[in-house]
């Protein structure tokens, strides 16, 4: 049963997964290319100075990519469920409905994780060839909130798609905008380090929003 559900989610999202993966890797490679160009023009010392003195991670051009990846994956996964109220078929499956929803979300989170890991790997591995490890660690810690924002965006997209009431959709959209803005408000290196565990817990708890949307669908509040 679990394998069948994973397959179903994969059929819906595989195109979105491969597109977001390809785009993320391309942009990450381009970010690495920019660093390479700077080193060629001004030397590696100059690069380190910019990172340390100007808090520049050279990854700023990819900071919105995880968020967009999350949105695309969430819509690709949940929009087909709401089209023609196909969610009724899913809810009719002989599986406890909370377990079913959590499995569906787990598939999306796993796909987002692969995309983000690929993106982080390109940046991290390249940076290690031109910067000392502590500096790379600092850059990776700085980019971490963007990836958490990607998971949050995914969970918000799922909840908004599953929500059948337009009024609630707008409410969830506003909540999403407010929460996601928090991930991008501090540009300094490692500015989120102390706050990150709270953001992680808040992001994980967003799965409840999808469960709420599903319950309201089940009770006919969408009819």
């Amino acid at each position: 049963m679990i394998k069948a559900i994973i397959n179903k989610e994969w059929y819906k999202t595989r195109l979105a997964f491969f597109v977001t993966l390809a785009v993320s890797l391309l942009f990450s490679a381009y970010a690495a290319l920019r660093i390479n160009r700077l080193i060629a023009l001004k030397g590696v010392d100059h690069l380190w100075l910019i990172v340390l003195l100007k808090d520049n991670t050279f990854a700023d051009m990819i900071q919105m990519l995880p968020l967009l990846t999350g949105l695309v994956l969430g819509v690709a996964q949940m929009a087909p469920e709401m089209s023609h109220k196909r969610l009724k078929l899913t809810m009719h499956l002989p599986v406890p409905q909370t377990k079913l929803l959590m499995l569906m979300l787990a598939v999306g989170v796993a796909e987002a994780l692969v995309v983000f890991a690929g993106q982080a790997a390109v940046i991290g591995i390249y940076d290690l060839t031109v910067m000392p490890a502590p500096m790379v660690a600092s850059i990776m810690l700085t980019t971490l909130p963007w990836f958490v924002a990607g998971f949050a965006a995914y969970l918000f997209a799922c909840a908004i798609c599953l929500e059948a009431s337009w009024r609630r959709r707008v409410g969830l959209g506003l909540l999403a905008a407010a929460m996601l803005a928090m991930f991008y408000s501090q540009p300094a290196l490692e500015a989120y380090n102390s706050f990150l565990p709270i953001l992680l817990i808040a992001t994980a708890s967003l799965a409840i929003l999808s469960a709420g949307s599903m319950i309201r669908f089940k009770e006919g509040l969408s009819e």
Partner: protein, 244 residues
């Protein structure tokens, strides 16, 4: 615990409105005993799909109680859902899957799954296992949905307006397949339709709904006794509900 003598579906004093407005029906009560086929008939907008939504737990009724296999529908367990085959209005299925993917998907959930019943029907359509459902015609999609229902081998079949979007040929095919299957296997069926002519040879009992009220509720044979020979169920329906 549900016993064989108890009705498969039991509905008591069901009342439902559109939001806080128009009454769809009030005090609707009926039973569907084991092995019977009940048709809920009515024009568009009389509450047929609403009733299915209530029975399947997708809509909370304003008042009344519904039980399926003795279980209140609000607390339906996964094992009970496994005994019910559901056809959603418009033959909606997972159209992003192919013929073979969808069969493999559903087979994982139903212990009595009959793969041959599904592929037997697919062979008649001359479609390849790799064909995506979204690329099929409405008639072909209806056959996929029918094939999945037959393969599930459920005790109760709930079919919401199976005739929607189908041309007469596919409607006839659907009815004939369904009739042979439910009679041979002793299945219980609850179905809705707004095209009455298809149902005459299929249903045992009928409930005819009008806007805001129940016009009649009885076995088809009994209903037809009150009319001259040669009268069809469609004629009776039109007489009761008025012309479209």
């Amino acid at each position: 615990m549900h016993t064989d003598t108890e009705p498969i579906i039991s509905v008591r004093n069901l009342t439902q409105r559109y939001g806080k407005g128009r009454v769809i029906y009030s005090d609707l009560s009926f039973d569907v005993p084991k092995g019977r086929i009940l048709g809920l008939l009515g024009k568009n907008g009389t509450g047929k799909t609403t009733t299915i939504n209530i029975l399947m737990g997708y809509l909370r009724p304003q008042s009344g109680e519904c039980r399926i296999f003795g279980e209140p529908i609000t607390e339906m367990q996964p094992a009970t859902r496994a005994r019910i085959a559901l056809l959603i209005e418009g033959h909606v299925q997972y159209s992003f899957m192919t013929i073979s993917q969808i069969e493999k998907f559903y087979s994982a959930f139903y212990p009595k799954w009959n793969r041959d019943a599904y592929y037997g029907l697919m062979e008649k359509m001359h479609v390849s296992p790799g064909q995506k459902i979204s690329t099929m015609s409405c008639g072909q999609r209806s056959q996929v949905a029918l094939g999945l229902i037959l393969a599930q081998n459920a005790d109760l079949l709930v079919l919401d307006d199976f005739s929607l979007g189908l041309d007469p040929g596919y409607r006839r095919l659907f009815v004939e397949y369904m009739r042979d299957y439910v009679k041979a296997e002793g299945k219980t069926v609850f179905m809705t339709s707004h095209i009455i002519q298809d149902l005459e040879r299929l249903i045992d009992d009928c409930i005819i709904l009008d806007y805001g009220r129940i016009l009649t509720q009885q076995p088809v044979a009994e209903l037809m006794k009150g009319y001259p020979q040669g009268t069809t169920l469609e004629d009776v329906f039109i007489e009761l509900t008025g012309k479209y």
